[in-house]
Symmetry: C2
Subunit: 342 residues, 2 copies
DNA sequence: TTGTAGGCGTTATCAC
DNA sequence: GTGATAACGCCTACAA
């Protein structure tokens, strides 16, 4: 015969189905002695609950909210598409997800949105937002209301979030560094580092990892101070032009943040893009094309499909109080070259 | 109210549950007219079947067989471990998998095992085996008996397998090539290519991809003919020593096949391992250590966890006749360096 | 503190 | 051809 069921447990323990259920779900109103008997039966028979049958009976619905940066980020757009796709697929069964767009550079706006989330109409929240003290407090409130919270892409380590879905930025920076160094071969010269803002925690960590590798392994290359674009194309053009004026031996560019469209445009207008080693983050329509055209040499990527599915699985597991399957939830640091473009 | 159920369909179409079920599962014994009415109702209400409830009622069990090479391959061992892990986890719910070890270099033995599979006690088969005409016929037989078959890691394109779970070997070879070329910088010299046997389809394809990139982009590097180790450590030592004797400017080694333990040992005894650019396939305990020690520069990998889960999901989908979620089943060509080791 | 009975959405076995 | 009716494994009133 197949797996043992609650019926088997009930028979084995000499109690009724309802009592078994109460014990399995740790509900009160059962004598300690009876609890013991049931648990013994569970042990003996090796019972494991059929989650799907349980969800069916429970009419379980998972209502999640995804708090994502608004604005025209290709990465976020790609992420949203992957979310829609996953919700429509098998993995999205019984899951509904609302997307809350927040102006992520405005911590107060972020907090306003987080505080406005209707905790009683939700079963979990995924947040992709820079870490600020205000955000930390808002997350604490959500958790107080009993909601599982996962941090997406950018971690919120001191917020008490239940889980982080994303890659280690420091390692990602190291990976970018080693590609930069090896692709530049033994040449000496300077490398430009660009991001939208060094207030973003992941930019800081990526920079740290990048610098570490460059100092360790490629001391003949000097890494210039981080340039901040502030998500402004005009400013991007200006600082890039200026950087090319003041540095004679530029070997490469490390783009740590979003905004690759504007950066690539600025680099194109210097006329030197083809000679540079360019390493960027996140595979989006624009970085994909730039890879294909040989403008970008390597992209460090976190697979958005994987991010989405991992967030959904983890949130569901937290709701059910079940274990997560670590191996499946580890997001890889993908290295994408033209030849292994998915 | 929530999603429409079979009850809603029955009411809407003015028929009974049983009839709805017959139509949904394409069973005979329903008037064309009635079929139509039900299908209209399905359309109108946007019904989509609850797979889990269905499986519950059906008492569905998925009994799969995995036909894997025997012998001491670290890759296969890693794969088996991942399989066990997945079976124990959420994704393995209702799935049982038996592993059949075959001496994969012996086509007749492979076929004997395939033919001995009890088709009536199985719901699907995954096969990791080199392609031979005999294997092709055996797969055809399995399919005749109604079993879904997926090819694992090494494709069986002309066998009528339902699906291939793995990476494109040609692209993988190109990826290895570009890493080799760029990591070797502008130096000219020779590159050694090693595999266990050029009878393996993936070795041939990898070689093709590798050669293409080298010829296109790195013409100053000459790629030597493939050396075959025949899975024999002694032979490996000999051919490597010989290769080092006859080539004065060796820049690197591309290891296309399994057997990295023996190959690394042979390379170590030349005393020149540290200076070479080494690119290998598959992340296993030994390649992992070699990466960490700087002996291997890059590993081209297919994530075994992903392979296993994909095979399980695809087989299940084929059993259910349901769609597969392409995006999730595309196995990535991972590039693993020391810095992004998972 | 415990048990009974019914229901979740689907399928399967009977009759009619 | 079609329709009741009872499963599947679990949960939850409500009753005892």
């Amino acid at each position: 015969m197949g797996r043992p069921t609650v019926h088997d447990i009930a028979r084995e323990a000499g109690v009724s189905l309802a009592t078994v259920d109460r014990v399995l779900n740790a509900r009160p109103g059962v004598r300690a002695q009876t609890v013991e008997r049931v648990q013994n039966a569970v042990q003996r028979l090796g019972y494991v609950r059929d989650t799907y049958a349980a969800n069916l009976a429970r009419q379980r619905e998972y209502r999640f909210a995804f708090v994502l940066p608004d604005g025209a980020s290709q990465f976020v757009e790609t992420f949203k598409a992957a979310l829609q796709e996953a919700i429509g697929a098998q993995i999205g069964e019984r899951i509904s997800a609302r997307i809350e767009a927040v102006p992520s550079h405005d911590p107060h706006a972020v907090v306003r949105v987080l505080n406005a989330l209707p905790a009683d109409k939700l079963d979990g929240v995924a947040i992709m937002t820079p870490e600020t003290p205000q955000v930390r407090d808002a997350v604490a409130r959500l958790k107080d209301e009993g909601l599982p919270v996962v941090a997406l892409v950018s971690d919120l380590p001191s917020s008490g979030r239940d889980h982080f879905v994303g890659i280690n930025s420091f390692q990602a920076g190291r990976t970018a560094g080693v590609l930069m160094g090896r692709f530049a071969c033994a040449k000496s010269g300077q490398v430009l580092v660009v991001t939208n803002s060094m207030h973003a925690r992941d930019s800081v960590e990526r920079r740290l990892g990048f610098d570490e590798v460059m100092a360790e392994t490629f001391p003949h290359i000097s890494v210039l101070p981080s340039l901040e674009t502030h998500d402004d194309p005009d400013r991007t053009d200006r600082i890039i032009a200026e950087a090319f004026r003041s540095n004679s031996d530029l070997l490469g560019v490390y783009s740590m943040g979003p905004g690759n469209v504007a950066l690539l445009n600025a680099l194109r207008s210097t006329g030197r893009l083809q000679d540079l080693v360019v390493v960027a983050h996140e595979l989006t329509p624009s970085t994909r094309i730039a890879l294909q055209d040989g403008e970008i040499d390597a992209v460090i990527n976190q697979n958005v499909g994987h991010l989405v599915r991992s967030a959904l699985r983890v949130l569901r597991a937290k709701c059910d109080g079940s274990e997560i399957f670590e191996a499946q939830e580890r997001i890889r640091i993908d290295i994408v070259l033209r030849e292994n473009l998915p």
